[in-house]
C-alpha cells in the first residue's frame, strides 16, 4: 500500500495545470456553440475520451490520468466537457456491442461533440422497473417504427442522437423482448418537451416518439438482446470523477467556513457555536472519507480491476453523502442558505449537476443523485444480491417469467 503519486502522475498533473491555466476561458460559456468549441479544445488536448482506445479516436490514457484531469478542472472551476452521457456510457456500449459500421459512423463525432447524444431508457411507468417499458419498435425489415414516450432525458433538447430501449417482442417475457436501437432525434416523429425540475431549471425533458424511424443498421447487438446490453457493466469512465468530485466538495466547504465566520447568531459568529462546529466537523470527516474511498477505487481501476457491482457502493456512498452535506450546510446557514439569488459569498457553489449555483440549488440538486442512474434502493438491492450474495427476492414478475 502506497498512495504517493508517481513522478509520472505528478508530471502529468503539472502539465494539465499549465494547459488549463493557459486555456480555460476567461468568460462564462453561454451558447451551445461556445461550449462545443471548448469541448473540442479539451478533446484535442487529450482530455476527453481519455480511456477510449486510440484506434477509435480516444487517447488510451490511464484512469489515474483521467482522474487528474477531472481534479485539475474542478480546482480551477473549468467549464466541463459536454456529451458526458455519450462519451461515458453510450459510446462504450457501441464499442463493446456495436458493428464496425456503427463505430465508424458515430464514435468520432460523439467524441468531438459534433453530435450530442441522449439516453432514451426511462418511461413514465418504467423507472426502477425499467424492463416494464412500453415504447414499441415494430420491425419493418430495413427499419423499425417507434412509438412511445420517454422521460427524464438529459440533454434532450440539444441531442442529435439517442440510445433507445424499445419493446420488439410484446409476447416474450418482459426482459427478453427489448431491443437497443440508435435513434435520430432530428426527425419529425420525435418531439422533445423540456421538464422543469425542483431547482427551477429544465435540464431534462420528455421525449415523444410518433411513428419515428430507426434504421435496421442502427440496431445494437441482436434483436431482443436489449436488456442484456443495458445491463452490461462498462469499464469506461467509472471512477474518473472520484477526485474532482471531492475537490468540488472541498471548495464548497471552504466557502461554508467563510460564511460561518461572517454570519452571526446569538451574538457571536456561527463558527464559534459548538453546534455549528460539530456539523462542520461531521461534513469534513465524511468528505475526506469520500476522498480516501475515491483513491481506493481509482487504485483498483489503475490495476486493471473492474469494480463491477461494487461500484454501486461508490454511487450509494457519495450520493447519500451529498444529501447529508447540503442538509447540514443549510442547517448551518439558516435562511441565508435558502436564498435563490444569494449574496456574493454564497454564490457559485458547484452543485452535483456540475453547474454553478447557490447553496439552495446545491441542496435541491442533492435530491437527484439518489434517484438517477438507479436509485439508492436499487443500488442496495445490487449490493445485497451481487456483492453480499444474499438471496434474491421473490418477485411477481420473475415468477411469471
Amino acid at each position: 500500500m502506497d498512495l504517493t503519486p508517481t513522478p509520472e502522475d505528478l508530471a502529468f498533473r503539472s502539465q494539465v495545470r499549465r494547459w488549463l491555466g493557459a486555456n480555460v476561458p476567461a468568460h462564462e460559456l453561454k451558447t451551445l456553440d461556445e461550449r462545443k468549441a471548448w469541448h473540442r479544445k479539451l478533446y484535442e488536448a487529450g482530455y476527453v475520451g481519455m480511456l477510449w482506445p486510440r484506434e477509435l479516436g480516444g487517447w488510451g490514457a490511464s484512469p489515474m490520468q483521467q482522474a487528474i484531469v477531472q481534479d485539475e478542472m474542478a480546482r480551477v472551476d473549468a467549464p466541463p466537457a459536454i456529451n458526458g452521457l455519450g462519451i461515458g456510457f453510450i459510446g462504450p456500449t457501441i464499442i463493446v456491442h456495436g458493428t464496425d459500421w456503427q463505430k465508424q459512423r458515430y464514435l468520432k463525432k460523439m467524441l468531438t461533440a459534433e453530435e450530442i447524444w441522449c439516453q432514451l431508457y426511462s418511461e413514465p411507468n418504467a423507472g426502477s422497473d425499467l424492463a416494464s417499458l412500453k415504447t414499441r419498435a415494430e420491425d419493418q425489415g430495413d427499419h423499425f417504427v417507434v412509438n412511445g414516450q420517454k422521460i427524464w432525458t438529459s440533454s434532450g433538447p440539444i441531442a442529435d442522437w439517442g440510445i433507445l430501449l424499445a419493446r420488439t417482442d410484446p409476447k416474450a417475457p418482459k426482459h427478453k423482448g427489448i431491443s437497443c436501437l440508435l435513434l435520430n432525434m432530428r426527425q419529425p416523429g420525435v418531439e422533445v418537451r423540456p421538464l422543469r425540475q425542483i431547482t427551477g431549471s429544465s435540464l431534462f425533458s420528455e421525449v415523444f416518439m410518433t411513428n419515428a424511424r430507426a434504421d435496421r443498421r442502427d440496431l445494437i447487438g441482436r434483436l431482443n438482446q436489449g436488456w442484456e446490453i443495458a445491463q452490461t457493466t462498462l469499464g469506461f469512465e467509472r471512477g474518473s470523477n472520484s477526485l474532482g468530485r471531492v475537490t468540488r466538495y472541498a471548495i464548497a466547504f471552504n466557502q461554508l467556513v467563510r460564511a460561518a465566520k461572517e454570519l452571526r447568531r446569538d451574538g457571536r459568529p456561527l463558527i464559534e457555536d459548538p453546534r455549528v462546529r460539530a456539523k462542520l466537523g461531521k461534513i469534513y470527516a465524511e468528505l475526506e472519507v469520500q476522498r480516501y474511498a475515491g483513491l481506493r477505487v481509482l487504485s483498483a481501476l489503475n490495476r486493471g480491476e473492474s469494480p463491477g457491482a461494487a461500484s454501486s457502493i461508490t454511487k450509494l456512498s457519495y450520493t447519500e453523502f451529498e444529501k447529508r452535506y447540503y442538509e447540514l450546510a443549510l442547517e448551518i446557514l439558516g435562511p441565508w442558505g435558502q436564498l435563490v439569488t444569494a449574496r456574493e459569498e454564497f454564490e457559485e457553489i458547484d452543485t452535483s449537476s456540475g453547474e454553478p449555483g447557490t447553496w439552495a440549488t446545491a441542496f435541491l440538486w442533492s435530491r437527484a443523485g439518489t434517484i438517477y442512474s438507479g436509485s439508492s434502493e436499487i443500488q442496495k438491492n445490487i449490493i445485497g444480491e451481487r456483492v453480499l450474495g444474499l438471496p434474491k427476492e421473490v418477485r411477481a414478475d420473475r415468477l411469471k417469467a
Binding site: 462546529r277 461531521k282 470527516a285
Partner: protein, 372 residues
C-alpha cells in the same frame, strides 16, 4: 499509487487471521472475560514470537521496522477476534520510548516489549476525561533526587498487568511525560468493571509517588507534541480494531440472513434486511478506506498526517457502532443473548469508541485544523 496491500501485508493479514482463528476462538475470549487478569500470558509470548509486539520497533531492538499500516492490519484482525489484552497500549508506549527515550530507556524496555517480557500502557486521562494533552491535571514536583507525582488517572487500559506506565504530568517547565513503575510507593490501582470483558480499565492514583530523575521520557516540559502524536496513533489503532469488530458483525449478519427463514424464505431476501446489510457494507468499506488511509498518512508523513487520524476515528467510531448494532437487529432475539457471540464484538467496538478521543472530540480537532 496503490491502495491495495502489498503481498507481504496480505501475508501478514492472512497469517494473523489463521493464528487468531485457531488461538482466539470466541470460547477462549469468553474464558478471558471471566479471568481476573483478563489476558492470556501464553498468547502474549506467542505474539512476541510471531513478531507482532516488535512489529514497528527498530530491528536493533528486536523489532521488524514496519509501520502503522502493518500495525493496523494486525489490530483489525485482533478487533475481528475481540482479543483481550494490552496490545495497542503497549505498542503506543513502545513507540514513545523509541521516539523520545534515552539509550538507557530504550535498552531497558524495547527488547523486553518485543519479546513479550514486558507490557506498557499510557495513563493519559485525568478525572475530567479531557483528551487534550494541555488539559492534563496530574502534577509532578521536583525533589532533590527525581520527582514526586500526584493525581488521578482514569480509565487506564490494562494498568494492572503493565510493567511500566507512561504518565503525563504538569511541571513548572510544562507538560512532562514520566515512566512510572506501577509498584512504586503511593501508587494504587483500582480496576473497574466495564461492559466489554475484553477491555480492562484501571483507576491509577498517585499520591506523592516518587520517580527517579532518569524517569522523564523526552525533554521536560515538551511532552505535548509527543502525546498528541501518540493519541493520533492510538486513534488509528482503535479505528482499525473497530473496523475488525464491525466486519465480523457484518459477516455474521449476512451469514445469518442467508440461512434464517421466516415467512417461508431466507430473511436476506427481504429488502428490509438486504438494504440494512448493504448499508452496513458501505460503512465497513468506507471505514477500511479511512483506517488505511490514515495509517499510510502516518507512515508516509503525508501533509494531512495530523488530520487523517481524526477523520478515521470520527468516521469509524460512528460506523462501527451502527454496524455492530444493526447486526444485532438483523439477528433478532438470538443476537441479544449472552450465549450468542455478537455481543463480544459489539461491546469491543463500543469500548474503543470512547478511547483516544471519541467522535465528537475528533470532529472538533478537524474543525480546528480546517476552519482556523
Amino acid at each position: 499509487m496503490n491502495f491495495a496491500f502489498s503481498s507481504d501485508q496480505q501475508l501478514l493479514k492472512n497469517s494473523a487471521r489463521a493464528f487468531l482463528d485457531e488461538h482466539m476462538t470466541p470460547a477462549t475470549v469468553r474464558l478471558l472475560w471471566d479471568d481476573p487478569r483478563g489476558e492470556s500470558e501464553t498468547l502474549w509470548k506467542e505474539m512476541g514470537e510471531l513478531g507482532w509486539l516488535g512489529l514497528s520497533l527498530p530491528e536493533a531492538h528486536g523489532g521488524s521496522g514496519l509501520g502503522m499500516v502493518e500495525t493496523a492490519i494486525l489490530l483489525e484482525e485482533m478487533g475481528r477476534a475481540a482479543v483481550p489484552g494490552p496490545y495497542l497500549p503497549t505498542v503506543l508506549a513502545a513507540r514513545a520510548i523509541e521516539e523520545s527515550g534515552t539509550d538507557g530507556q530504550r535498552k531497558r524496555w524495547l527488547s523486553a516489549i518485543a519479546t513479550g517480557d514486558a507490557r506498557a500502557t499510557l495513563a493519559f486521562l485525568d478525572a475530567d476525561l479531557d483528551w487534550r494533552p494541555e488539559a492534563t491535571q496530574a502534577r509532578a514536583e521536583k525533589r532533590a533526587t527525581g520527582w514526586t507525582l500526584s493525581g488521578t488517572k482514569r480509565f487506564v487500559p490494562w494498568a494492572h498487568v503493565a510493567d511500566v506506565l507512561l504518565v503525563p504530568a504538569r511541571t513548572p517547565d510544562g507538560l512532562t511525560l514520566f515512566l512510572v513503575d506501577p509498584g512504586a510507593a503511593g501508587l494504587t490501582l483500582e480496576p473497574a468493571q466495564v461492559m466489554d470483558g475484553a477491555t480492562r480499565l484501571v483507576t491509577v492514583t498517585l499520591e506523592g509517588t516518587p520517580v527517579a530523575g532518569d524517569a522523564v521520557l523526552g525533554a521536560p516540559g515538551q511532552a505535548g507534541p509527543l502525546l498528541a502524536s501518540l493519541l493520533r496513533r492510538g486513534a488509528v489503532g482503535a479505528a482499525a480494531e473497530m473496523l475488525g469488530a464491525a466486519r465480523r458483525c457484518l459477516d455474521m449478519a449476512v451469514g445469518y440472513a442467508k440461512v434464517r427463514e421466516q415467512f417461508g424464505q431466507p430473511i436476506g431476501s427481504f429488502q428490509a434486511i438486504r438494504h440494512k446489510c448493504a448499508e452496513m457494507l458501505l460503512e465497513v468499506e468506507n471505514s477500511h478506506s479511512a483506517v488505511y488511509y490514515a495509517a499510510w498518512a502516518l507512515d508516509a508523513k503525508a501533509e494531512d498526517a495530523e488530520l487523517a487520524p481524526s477523520v478515521a476515528k470520527a468516521y469509524v467510531g460512528d460506523a462501527a457502532r451502527r454496524v455492530c448494532g444493526e447486526a444485532i437487529q438483523v439477528h433478532g432475539g438470538i443476537g441479544f443473548t449472552w450465549e450468542y457471540d455478537l455481543h463480544l464484538y459489539f461491546k469491543r467496538a463500543k469500548a474503543l469508541e470512547a478511547m483516544y478521543g471519541d467522535a465528537d472530540h475528533h470532529r472538533e480537532l478537524i474543525v480546528r485544523r480546517v476552519a482556523a
